[in-house]
Amino acid sequence: MKHLLLTAMADINESLRSRWFIIYTLIFGGIVVALFITGLTESRVMGFTGLSRTLVTYLQITMAILPVFVLLTTVRSVAGDREAGIFEYLLSLPVGLASWYWGKILGRFVVVFLPVVLAMMLAVVWAAIKGAEIPWGQVFFYTLMLLVLAWCFLGIGMLISSLARSADVAQGAAFIIWLVLLLFLDLILLGIMIQNGSTADTVVLIALLNPLQVFRTGAMMLFDPQLVLLGPSAWVILDTFGHTGYLIYSIVYPLLLGTLCAWLGYFFFKRGDLP
């Protein structure tokens, strides 16, 4: 446990010093600030009406940026460290492989998750200053969703890092995975699939397996419980899962997927050459 925490602390300190973290923090802090400055949160008639609108916009933007950021920085730093000889040296010290691997994940998770949540807190503070009612249920669920989304892509990033032997290959693979998930998010693509004869079940299955789509639908559900925005597919979701059931699924599925990927990454890391 001591070695796990030491590795996590070392990784956190290393990340806090790196340029990507500064950019990352500025982006998420900047998004929230930009939402307020541009007045996107304000209704034309009513002015600032509450936090829900801000949060849902923030989440939609986060959904596009967070996964690719987590994937690229994770594979860049883990596979890059291996390529640069950092693993050769640090793994010559008496640290257990499990402590090293899970410590790195823990450290990275803290670093990836904190700026996103701090930005959310910033929004809450803003709403409080404006005197708007704070929907604590939504804040809690959105935070939880962001947490599992970050965990899910961190797990995928660690798996890619364990399998790829060079930083370039890892980065390429990470980008392709993100792109594929993004493509299967697109309703037009799903539409074409239906047009080309794919069964509705297949399309629904793809949507349910894609963590980005799961996150998107879950976030939407909090803002729009009947999923009016989603159209007829809302019936399938609500019939199959129910409102609470889908919310639970949108938390549990990315959590399990991330854990499975992280564990597989550890399995490959442990049985292969370390540097």
Partner: protein, 284 residues
């Protein structure tokens, strides 16, 4: 202490180590020599449990890969190329000391002996240090903790003559209770430090021999070099060894005992200029 039996390592179809068999005992100081690609670094990584391999590596009957923590607690390692760590020097020392259950002050003390005041660089990223400073730091970490086996890959390559002498003195203190592997491209770089030579070629041991072990690692030789005429290039080279001269003809200085062969190697480049050489071991 260490038994290596039929050790082979293959990368894709390229066999880098081919049936290595070695026994290493306490008190052995081995020069691991061989050209580039001979398999030195791969062998070291197998000893550190960093590579999966065929055959067997045992340290006190424990496999480095399976009993990582117990085995690596006994091994001090100095890599050839310092890792590009961004963490500050102080944090690197604290991290290393914490995972090795060691006292960071001991590492600072070793760096002091090597002529590097590590506390001055505490907040500076390791990667920003000069080549020599990085090497001193890595040696300080390896020698500043309890170890029974030292693996050093070209450890003194970036050190100035004074630091080399301090480094050799530190090794002298450890030589009875510790086994050492000192890897190098060239035997003359490490010959005086070792009592055994293992040469690798294309992944096989082609030489495994004991060598004369009469050089005191802590010794110092007073030297005088007389030239036939002053030469600027020679003045620069010998100046790097800390030698001084009033007239550019007679140069005086001191050379660490284990460095004598290396020093003579340097002088051999100017053989035509040499009028005389005197080397005498300082009495303790």
């Amino acid at each position: 202490m260490i038994t290596i039996h039929d050790l082979s390592k293959t990368f894709r179809k390229n066999k880098v180590l081919d049936g290595i068999a070695l026994n290493i005992n306490r008190g052995d100081r081995i020069a691991l020599v061989g050209s580039n690609g001979a398999g030195k670094t791969t062998l070291i990584r197998c000893l550190l449990g960093e590579y999966v391999h065929e055959g067997e590596v045992l340290m006190d009957n424990m496999q480095p890969r399976l009993h990582r923590k117990d085995v690596l607690k006994k091994i001090g390692f100095v890599p050839q190329i310092p890792p590009p760590l961004k963490m500050p020097v102080g944090q690197l020392i604290n991290f290393s000391a914490a995972v090795c259950d060691s006292d960071p002050e001991k590492m600072y003390a070793v760096s002091d002996k090597l002529g590097l005041d590590a506390s001055k660089f505490k907040h500076q990223p390791f990667v920003k240090l000069s080549g020599g400073q990085k090497q001193k730091m890595l040696i300080s970490i390896a020698l500043g903790r309890a170890s029974e086996f030292l693996i050093m890959d070209e450890p003194a390559a970036n050190l100035d003559p004074e630091a080399r002498h301090s480094f050799f003195s530190l090794l002298e203190e450890k030589k009875k209770d510790t086994a050492m592997i000192i890897s190098s491209h060239r035997l003359d770089e490490v010959a005086s430090l070792v009592n055994r030579v293992v040469e690798l070629d294309q992944g096989k041991v082609v030489l495994n021999d004991q060598v004369a072990d009469e050089v005191d690692m802590d010794s110092i030789l007073d030297c005088e070099v007389r030239l036939l005429r002053p030469v600027t290039a020679f003045a620069k080279t010998i100046g790097d060894w800390g030698f001084v001269s009033d007239d550019g003809i007679i140069w005086k200085g001191a050379v660490a005992g284990p460095d004598r062969l290396r020093f003579l190697g340097v002088l051999s480049r100017y053989a035509g200029l040499l009028g005389g050489i005197k080397m005498e071991e300082e009495k303790k």
